[in-house]
C-alpha cells in the first residue's frame, strides 16, 4: 500500500514537474513600468491615459506587437520624489527596461534622467518638457504627445487667426504656467492687456475676473489644467464675461471632462488640439468606439495619447520580437514611428518629439443629441515640431 502511494506520489511529481516545465517554455511577459498620477485632483488625467494604453493591449489580448506584456502601474501622487522612488524600484527590483506613464513635467524631470542613464527606455504619453527637448535630449527618451510649448503656440496662432486685437492671458504662477504664456506670445502678436498669474491651489477667481472685466479686452486665453480651469470657466461665465470676450484655449483647458463638468457654460468656446474625437482616420474611429464601449465615458486627448503610446511601443516590440537587449534595433524601430496614430500623420523630429498637425476646434451643440461636443474646425498648424529641436544633438 505504502509503495503504491509512493509510486502515485512520484507519478504526480513527475507530471507536475513536466507540466510546469512545459509552461516555463513560454517566456514571462515583458514588464512595462507605468508611473502615473492617479490620486489628487489631477488623477483623472492619469486614469484616462492608463485606460487608453490598456485598450491597445486588450485589442491584442494581452500583447503589444505580438509580445505578451505586463503593465505594472504605480501612482506618483503628483510628487516628483515618489515618482523617483517608484522608478528606482522598477529599475533595481523589477528589472524593468521600458517606462511610460508620467503626466506632469515636474515628475518627469525627476524620473526620466535616472531611467535613461540606466540604459532603459522612456516613452512619454503626456509630458514633453523643454529641458529634455533641446540640449538635454536623450536617445532613449521619446515623446508621443507634444512638446509642452506647442499647444500654446497653436492657441496663439488661432487667436491671431480669429482676429482678436487685445487679449488677457492667465496661468498658474509656476514654471509650466510661465512657459505656456511664453508659448502663446510666440505666435500671438496682438496686444496683451493683462497677464495674470494665479496660485496653483486657487479656487476663487473673483478678484481676477474683476481685473479682466476692467481690461476691456476682446479675448481671453488661459492655461489652467483640470479642476483649476473648471472653477475658472464657471466663474467667468457667471460673471457675464462670455458675452463680451472670445475664449480661446489649449486642449488641457478644453476637453470632454471639462465640458462635462462645466455644462452649458462651455458652449461657443474655441480651442486647439493635436487630437480630436471626430478626426476621420480609421485608427481614430476604432479607438473612439472601443473606448466608449469599454469605459462608458467620453475619450480625452490623454486617453488617445495613452493609446498611441501603446501602439508605438507595439510597433517597436514587433521589430525586435520583444527582446529589449537589442537596444539599438528597438530604438531605431521607435524612431520610425511605424504605427497608425489616432491623430493621423505622425513622425518624430530630430529630438524624438513629435512633428504633427494641430487643429482648431469649437464647442457646439450637436443638433441630434442636444449635447455639447467638440468639433474640429480646420488645421491651424501643419507638420509642426518645436523650437528646441535644433539644439538637440543626437547622432
Amino acid at each position: 500500500m505504502l509503495t503504491f502511494a509512493r509510486a502515485l506520489l512520484a507519478a504526480l511529481l513527475v507530471l507536475s514537474v513536466s507540466g510546469s516545465s512545459a509552461f516555463a517554455a513560454d517566456p514571462p511577459p515583458l514588464k512595462i513600468g507605468m508611473i502615473t498620477t492617479l490620486s489628487t485632483a489631477g488623477g483623472y488625467l492619469g486614469e484616462d491615459m492608463r485606460d487608453g494604453f490598456q485598450l491597445a493591449i486588450d485589442e491584442e489580448r494581452g500583447k503589444l506587437g505580438g509580445v505578451p506584456v505586463q503593465v505594472i502601474v504605480e501612482d506618483d501622487g503628483l510628487k516628483p520624489a515618489s515618482g523617483k522612488q517608484i522608478a528606482d524600484k522598477f529599475l533595481l527590483q523589477d528589472k524593468i527596461q521600458l517606462f511610460t506613464g508620467i503626466i506632469y513635467s515636474n515628475v518627469a524631470l525627476a524620473v526620466v534622467p535616472s531611467v535613461v542613464e540606466a540604459g532603459a527606455f522612456y516613452v512619454s504619453p503626456n509630458s514633453g518638457p523643454s529641458q529634455l527637448a533641446g540640449k538635454g535630449c536623450n536617445k532613449n527618451f521619446f515623446v508621443v504627445s507634444w512638446q509642452n510649448d506647442t499647444p500654446h503656440e497653436a492657441t496663439g496662432q488661432y487667436a491671431q487667426y480669429l482676429g482678436l486685437k487685445k487679449m488677457v492671458v492667465v496661468a498658474p504662477n509656476y514654471t509650466t504656467g510661465k512657459d505656456a504664456i511664453a508659448g502663446f506670445k510666440r505666435t500671438y502678436h496682438g496686444q496683451i492687456a493683462e497677464e495674470i498669474y494665479t496660485a496653483l491651489d486657487q479656487t476663487d477667481y473673483s478678484a481676477e475676473l474683476a481685473r479682466i472685466r476692467a481690461a476691456n479686452a476682446d479675448g481671453i486665453y488661459y492655461f489652467l489644467p483640470g479642476g483649476l480651469g473648471i472653477n475658472f470657466l464657471k466663474q467667468f461665465a457667471q460673471a457675464g464675461l462670455k458675452k463680451t470676450m472670445k475664449v480661446v484655449l489649449p486642449e488641457f483647458s478644453l476637453e470632454n471632462h471639462v465640458i462635462g463638468a462645466v455644462g452649458n457654460d462651455a458652449e461657443d468656446l474655441y480651442g486647439t488640439a493635436h487630437w480630436l474625437e471626430d478626426l476621420p482616420y480609421a485608427a481614430n474611429k476604432k479607438f473612439v468606439t472601443d473606448y466608449r464601449a469599454k469605459y462608458h465615458r467620453e475619450p480625452t486627448p490623454y486617453a488617445s495619447q495613452g493609446y498611441d503610446t501603446a501602439k508605438l511601443i507595439a510597433s517597436a516590440l514587433r521589430a525586435v520580437n520583444g527582446d529589449l537587449s537589442k537596444a539599438d534595433a528597438f530604438r531605431a524601430a521607435l524612431r520610425k514611428a511605424d504605427f497608425k496614430s489616432t491623430r493621423g500623420a505622425f513622425k518624430f523630429g530630430p529630438n524624438q518629439y513629435p512633428v504633427q498637425d494641430w487643429y482648431s476646434m469649437k464647442v457646439v451643440r450637436d443638433p441630434k443629441t442636444k449635447k455639447l461636443t467638440l468639433r474640429g474646425v480646420g488645421k491651424i498648424m501643419r507638420d509642426t515640431g518645436d523650437v528646441y529641436s535644433g539644439q538637440c544633438k543626437l547622432t
Partner: protein, 310 residues
C-alpha cells in the same frame, strides 16, 4: 481710468472678498467648534465639505431642485460627521495632537478613495440654478447674482450660530464645554452626546458650504484639502475655538486674499517691468494671507478672539 470706475472696481473687489470670506466661515465654524470644545484637530473636515458637494451634485444630476440638493448635501455631510465622530474621533479626545493629525489624515485618504470609488475621478457637473444664473447691476458694476446668495448664506449661518450659541441651552453647554469641560460633566451633562452633536453640526455646515460652492467650483476628489489650508489660517487668525474669531478671521482672510490678488500686481506695475510685476505680484498675493497670519500672531499670539478670553 476714471475715478468712479476705480471706486466701483474697488467696491466690487470688496464684495468679492466678503463672499469668499463668507464661504470660508461656513467651513471654519465647524472646524473651530470641534477644536474649541473637543480639543481635536480634524484634518478630515475638508472631506465633509467634499461629501456635501458630491452628494448635492449627484442629487442635482438626478433632477432634484437646487434647494433639495443643498439640503441633501448638508444632511449627508452631517450624517458622515456623526459616524466619523462615533467611530474614530471619539477615541482621540485627550490624545496627543499628533495622533489626531495622523488619524484624521488617514480619514482624508479613506474619504478621497471612497468618493472616487463611488463617483469616479472625473469632476461632476453642477449648474447654477436658473433663477440665480444672471448678473445684477449694482450701481457702477455688474455682479453675479449667485455670489450675492453666497454672501447671504454666510451671514445667515453666522447669525444662526450666534443665536444658537448665545441664546439657547445647547449653546450654553457648548460654551461651557469649551472652557470648563470637567465642571460641565460633573453637573451631569452627557459630554459624549454633546460632542457628537457639535461634531455633526460642524459637519453639516461644511456640507452646506460644499453644496453651495458646487455650482462655482470643480466638484472633484481632493477639493477639501484645497480649501482646508485657508480655513486653518482663518481660525488661527481669529483665535482657536471661537465662533466670533472664525467669523472675523474668515472675512479677513477672504478680504486680504482677494484684495491682494486684485491690487498687488497693479501696484507693482509702475515700479517693475511688466513681466516681473505680473509674476511677482502673483507670488506676493499668494502669500498675503500668511503674512496676515504672521502679523496677527506676533501681535496676539492666541489670535484675535481666543475662546474663553471673553
Amino acid at each position: 481710468m476714471q475715478a468712479d470706475l476705480i471706486v466701483s472696481l474697488a467696491l466690487e473687489q470688496v464684495l468679492n472678498g466678503l463672499q469668499f470670506g463668507a464661504m470660508i466661515f461656513l467651513i471654519a465654524a465647524g472646524l473651530t467648534l470641534v477644536f474649541g470644545i473637543m480639543g481635536v484637530i480634524n484634518l478630515a473636515h475638508g472631506s465633509l465639505y467634499m461629501i456635501g458637494a458630491f452628494v448635492s451634485a449627484s442629487a442635482a444630476v438626478h433632477g432634484a431642485p437646487f434647494a433639495v440638493a443643498v439640503l441633501a448635501g448638508a444632511a449627508a455631510a452631517g450624517l458622515a460627521g456623526v459616524v466619523m465622530e462615533l467611530v474614530v474621533i471619539r477615541r482621540l479626545y485627550g490624545r496627543d495632537h499628533l495622533h489626531q493629525v495622523l488619524a484624521t489624515f488617514a480619514l482624508i485618504l479613506i474619504a478621497n478613495d471612497g468618493v472616487s470609488m463611488l463617483w469616479g475621478k472625473v469632476p461632476l457637473p453642477v449648474d447654477v440654478p436658473g433663477a440665480l444664473a444672471g448678473t445684477l447691476s449694482l450701481g457702477g458694476f455688474v455682479y453675479p447674482a449667485y455670489r450675492l446668495v453666497l454672501i447671504g448664506a454666510g451671514l445667515l449661518a453666522a447669525l444662526g450660530l450666534y443665536v444658537l450659541i448665545a441664546r439657547t441651552r445647547l449653546g450654553m453647554l457648548i460654551r461651557a464645554g469649551a472652557t470648563h469641560r470637567e465642571t460641565v460633566a460633573a453637573l451631569g451633562v452627557d459630554i459624549a452626546q454633546l460632542n457628537t452633536i457639535v461634531f455633526g453640526l460642524g459637519a453639516l455646515l461644511a456640507g452646506v458650504a460644499g453644496a453651495l460652492l458646487a455650482p462655482i467650483l470643480a466638484v472633484q476628489v481632493g477639493m477639501g484639502e484645497q480649501i482646508l489650508i485657508l480655513t486653518f489660517v482663518a481660525i488661527v487668525v481669529g483665535g482657536l475655538g471661537s465662533i466670533r474669531g472664525a467669523f472675523v478671521g474668515a472675512l479677513l482672510v477672504g478680504l486680504v486674499d482677494t484684495l491682494g490678488r486684485a491690487y498687488i500686481p497693479v501696484l507693482l506695475k509702475p515700479v517693475a517691468r511688466p513681466e516681473i510685476a505680473d509674476s511677482l505680484g502673483g507670488g506676493l498675493s499668494a502669500v498675503a494671507i500668511y503674512v496676515l497670519m504672521a502679523v496677527v500672531l506676533v501681535w496676539k499670539p492666541r489670535g484675535l478672539f481666543p475662546a474663553g478670553a471673553r
